[in-house]
């Protein structure tokens, strides 16, 4: 049972992220929502690779007969974190441009494109 707690955390993080993406109007909060979503997915990947009592998957000087955690999800997660940083930076920089042009970062006031 307690082994499933990380998955519960994953669901909560994704739900919180989705909540703030859907119901928050402030662009900074939307950026935070994206980061939460990304955190949830990354935690999911890491949890998939975890083995109870496993050590880091480095063969040099590794103790005999000990389980190792899976290295692939860690590599995936690292890639995903790097991409996430780029995404967040881009969202925040566009939010900055929007603030300069519209004088606000509330999405319901940034509405010149419609129809």
């Amino acid at each position: 049972m307690i082994g499933n707690f990380p998955f519960v955390a994953v669901i909560m993080l994704i739900a919180l992220g989705m909540y703030s993406l859907m119901f928050k109007k402030n662009l900074i909060k939307i950026a935070i929502g994206l980061t939460l979503l990304e955190g949830g997915v990354n935690l999911f990947l890491i949890t998939l690779g975890y083995r109870k009592g496993g050590v880091a998957p480095i063969y040099t000087m590794a103790p005999e007969g000990v389980k190792m955690v899976l290295p692939t999800p860690q590599a995936l997660c690292l890639t995903s974190i790097v991409i996430g940083v780029a995404t967040t930076a881009l969202v925040l920089s566009i939010a900055m441009i929007l603030y300069k042009q519209y004088g606000t970062i509330e999405t319901d006031e940034i509405r010149r494109l419609r129809g």
């Binding site: 994704i14 993406l21 662009l27 939307i30 994206l34 979503l37 990304e38 997915v41 999911f44 990947l45 998939l48 692939t72 999800p73 995936l76 890639t79 995903s80 991409i83 780029a86 995404t87 881009l90 969202v91 566009i94 939010a95 441009i97 929007l98 042009q101 519209y102 940034i110 509405r111 010149r112 494109l113 129809g115």
Partner: protein, 522 residues
């Protein structure tokens, strides 16, 4: 020569990627010439893609393994499933890569004149090259995580390109943030679905996943995520709100590439449904979901388009509606996938129509967005009410516009007619009502393009546009090439369907071939 052919799959990715980071450095020395450099790079990429296409269509699927001892060795001895990143290029993948290569080359050529007066053009070209790289990656890869990485690169670079003009006014940034949020959500959920696959099957290779596929509850969850997220990224109707904004605010050359990007997402959707799941899923239900998405996109897209006043916004709604045709054709094919008799009698035909429509749409939609860009370049406005009488001054653009509009409306000697006719015929056998809706949509399409033609090109010459001239040569060249391909496809649709489209459809349908090229005789 042989070595180039062997490593073509890697070079198609490596060349634009390298050029993307060389361009700003070259820009320091000779700012004016980088546009020619970038066009040359895209020209070489197009050549490589054509070489690869020739090889694939004669010899079958190419497998390219990165970091292996040999490029073609998918399974090193002792492994039961591949662990390296693999490019698996079959007829469907190369079909999409050809679209990407042609469209990005012409967009770069068009940009030579179109972007001449802007500052920061070196960054523009860096992003354009990255966008093309990411599309090639999405279309050629056989590794699902690799697909996610290219998917994210495509969204980041296209967002930056959409907001390229936002230093003048806020609208491009507004369109960009919508697209950014949409594509981040879709990419992260796709990653979540990839995690679901990895957790169950312990592999990221698409062919290996396909061969292990059990269609458990988790697979169903993954399917729902892939279906909604990739349909959202390709602009199908309930999730289409970003499309008109992003397409209308991006520079015209970029809009054309964005159309190709949406189609790359659509390709990914088809690839996942057909090659990963195939008959393990309930094909009738999922097929009908695609059909309903398609019909909604067709109808809502076109009805929203008729009332628009902004020329690019109108065309953007049309690309939603054209996406509907592809979903309809392929959806009918999927719905009868488990029924060999129906599949042979009209299912394959319907899919041929849908897949053929992808390339046709890229061509004529590309041409139309380029003509819209030409109008914007000379008049400085996208508002149809402010244009008029431009046929007096811009005779080439008018000609190209007529070709594009006739093609999208499905008028006989042009390519849109060929694919739409295949869709009507085959869908009629599946369900007559769907074919009737498709024809109705086609008529409305014609109506809205007559509207543009009337308000932008016809009428007396307006005072403020007296001095307007034809657009520069590079823009005319890009539009002329697209027009020639459209006419060629319209005159010889049988050849295209037989040699390019049919192999692509068979590559999608035949799942065992997809898995056995990687996993061999195990």
């Amino acid at each position: 020569m042989n070595g180039i052919l062997m490593h073509a799959p890697a070079l198609v990715i490596a060349l634009p990627l390298l050029a993307a980071f060389v361009t700003p450095i070259l820009g320091r020395f000779n700012y004016k010439k980088i546009s020619w450099f970038v066009s040359a790079v895209f020209g070489v990429t197009l050549l490589l893609t054509l070489l690869m296409a020739g090889q694939i269509l004669t010899n079958g699927t190419i497998v390219y393994v990165f970091g292996g001892g040999e490029a073609g060795l998918a399974l090193p001895s002792g492994y039961t499933f591949p662990i390296r990143i693999i490019f698996q290029i079959d007829a469907m993948g190369i079909f999409m890569a050809l679209i990407t290569a042609v469209i990005s080359f012409l967009a770069a050529v068009y940009s030579i004149s179109y972007m001449e007066d802007y500052s920061g053009v070196d960054k523009y070209y860096t992003l354009l090259l990255l966008l093309a790289t990411s599309m090639f990656g999405m279309e050629l890869t056989g590794d699902i995580f690799n697909f996610f990485v290219f998917f994210e690169i495509s969204s980041i670079s296209s967002v930056a390109l959409i907001s390229f003009r936002s230093t003048f006014n806020g609208e491009p940034a507004e369109a960009a943030i919508k697209y950014m949020v949409i594509s981040s959500i879709s990419a992260l959920m796709v990653l979540f679905a990839i995690g679901l696959f990895y957790g169950q099957y312990g592999t990221l290779n698409m062919a290996a996943i396909a061969s292990f596929m059990q269609f458990t509850k988790l697979d169903k969850m993954a399917l729902i995520l892939f279906l909604t997220m990739l349909a959202m990224k390709s602009g199908a109707v309930p999730m289409h709100m970003w499309t008109p904004d992003a397409y209308s605010e991006a520079p015209s050359a970029i809009t054309v590439v964005l159309v190709a990007t949406s189609q790359a997402s659509l390709y990914a959707l088809f690839r996942i449904i057909f090659s990963l799941y195939n008959v393990t899923l309930n094909t009738v239900t999922v097929g009908w979901i695609l059909i309903i998405l398609g019909v909604l996109s067709m109808f809502i897209g076109v009805t929203m388009a008729v009332i628009q006043k902004d020329i690019k916004r109108l065309m953007a709604y049309h690309s939603i509606s054209q996406t509907g045709y592809m979903l309809l054709g392929v959806g009918v094919g999927l719905a009868v996938l488990a029924n060999p008799a129906a599949l042979a009698s009209y299912g394959i035909k319907a899919m041929e129509g849908g897949i053929f429509h992808i390339i046709n749409n890229a061509l004529y939609k590309g041409l139309l967005f380029l003509t819209a860009g030409a109008l914007f370049y000379r008049t400085g406005t996208r508002d149809l009410n402010k244009m008029g009488g431009l046929a007096h001054n811009m005779s080439y653009t008018t000609l190209f516009y007529i070709i594009g509009a006739a093609a999208i409306a499905g008028i006989p000697p042009f390519n849109g007619f060929a694919s739409k006719l295949i869709i009507y015929e085959s869908v009629y056998q599946f369900n007559p009502l769907l074919a009737i809706i498709a024809m109705l949509v086609s008529i409305l399409t014609l109506a809205s393009f007559v509207k543009i033609f009337h308000s932008a090109f016809l009428g007396p010459q307006l005072e403020q546009y007296k001095s307007v001239q034809e657009v520069p040569k590079s823009m005319v060249f890009a539009m002329a090439v697209l027009s020639i391909i459209i006419i060629f496809f319209g005159l010889f649709p049988n050849l295209i369907v037989k040699y390019i489209v049919h192999p692509a459809v068979m590559a999608l349908i035949n799942q065992s071939h997809y898995t056995s090229t990687i996993l061999g005789g195990m």
